[in-house]
Subunit: 189 residues, 2 copies
């Protein structure tokens, strides 16, 4: 029966997914990855990141023929010219994207066929903190709210379990909720 | 003398910058902003965020005529088809962009003309956590390293002070290092 099951579910090749998990269980050292970005200031609030190489599964991953480029900016009210989403909005996108992919992968592994995953995110910020007007408000969001709408061929209860498992496994959800040590080096002059 | 000083420094209109800070000091309630993103799953690791509206300075900001769209993906080794940077890479970009803009704004306020701001970021992750292979590694980055290279018309010591002040004020640096409460709601079925 297994051989007759189509291995693609939710756009994920589940044969490859389970083979990857088996391999990482057998050779834990292959789990060490490194992701990278390089960024360059252009003018005012406009800067651009270039993303291409990564270290993955014991070697340099050169599978990306071209780099991704991401432009950041600020709206006029925050002194920019809208050259791209602002950095806090990019963080919301990172969070939405990671939870969504986690939902899709968990569902694929649990034999749930999804038909839609949509989310809206809001982050509340008192910008007096980041602008240095007042010491009291924190610089970042006070809180982030995410509303997911998920449909698929499983009961609502099972879909909710998939979202819960995705929350428990998402890399960016972990980082945004728990924080990460960041080391900053500066070469100046 | 002040009237003869060109108000644009580092691409930032410093007259507007200082007027904004004065206004927020006089009317603290105008500091309440809300940033937003909505995301939709497309297929596999491919999903897309749409970013346009925000709440700013006491009202809805409708200054963006068009929405920004951001596509996320995963490389083949993480079961995707490279439809965009992956979510963890977007988080690195958010961090780089926010620190860079903070450096540029702080420098503008302190009368430092920058000639370049470049950064490279790396994040180390044991993907066994996020893939659910092992309970021990955390899901997200164990650590993030950022190397900045900053040049401008000020002594190295002053440029370093600008970077330090930017770290102390960056919204995304705050969120990534300290974490943010995230509330997730799910409508399933």
């Amino acid at each position: 029966m297994t051989a007759l099951t189509a291995p693609i579910r939710n756009g994920v090749n589940t044969d490859t997914l389970f083979a990857t998990l088996d391999l990482l269980e057998a050779q834990p050292e292959l789990g060490r990855f490194q992701f990278r970005a390089s960024n360059r200031w252009i003018d005012g609030a406009h800067n651009r990141s270039t993303i291409q190489g990564l270290y993955a599964a014991g070697g340099e991953d050169t599978s990306r023929a071209e780099a991704f480029e991401l432009d950041a900016g600020e709206p006029a009210i925050l002194l920019g010219t809208d050259t791209g989403p602002n950095p806090a909005e990019f963080l919301l996108h990172a969070l939405a994207a990671c939870l969504t992919t986690s939902i899709v992968y968990v569902a694929a592994a649990r034999k749930v066929r999804l038909t839609s995953v949509e989310s809206t995110l809001t982050g509340d910020m008192d910008v007096r903190g980041a602008l240095g007007v007042d010491e009291e408000p924190r610089n970042g969001f006070e809180q982030i709210r995410i509303a997911f709408k998920v449909t698929g061929d499983a009961p609502a209860e099972k879909l909710r379990e998939v979202v819960e498992r995705a929350k428990a496994r998402s890399a960016v959800y972990d980082m945004v909720t728990n924080g990460v040590p960041v080391a900053v080096e500066v070469a100046a002059g």
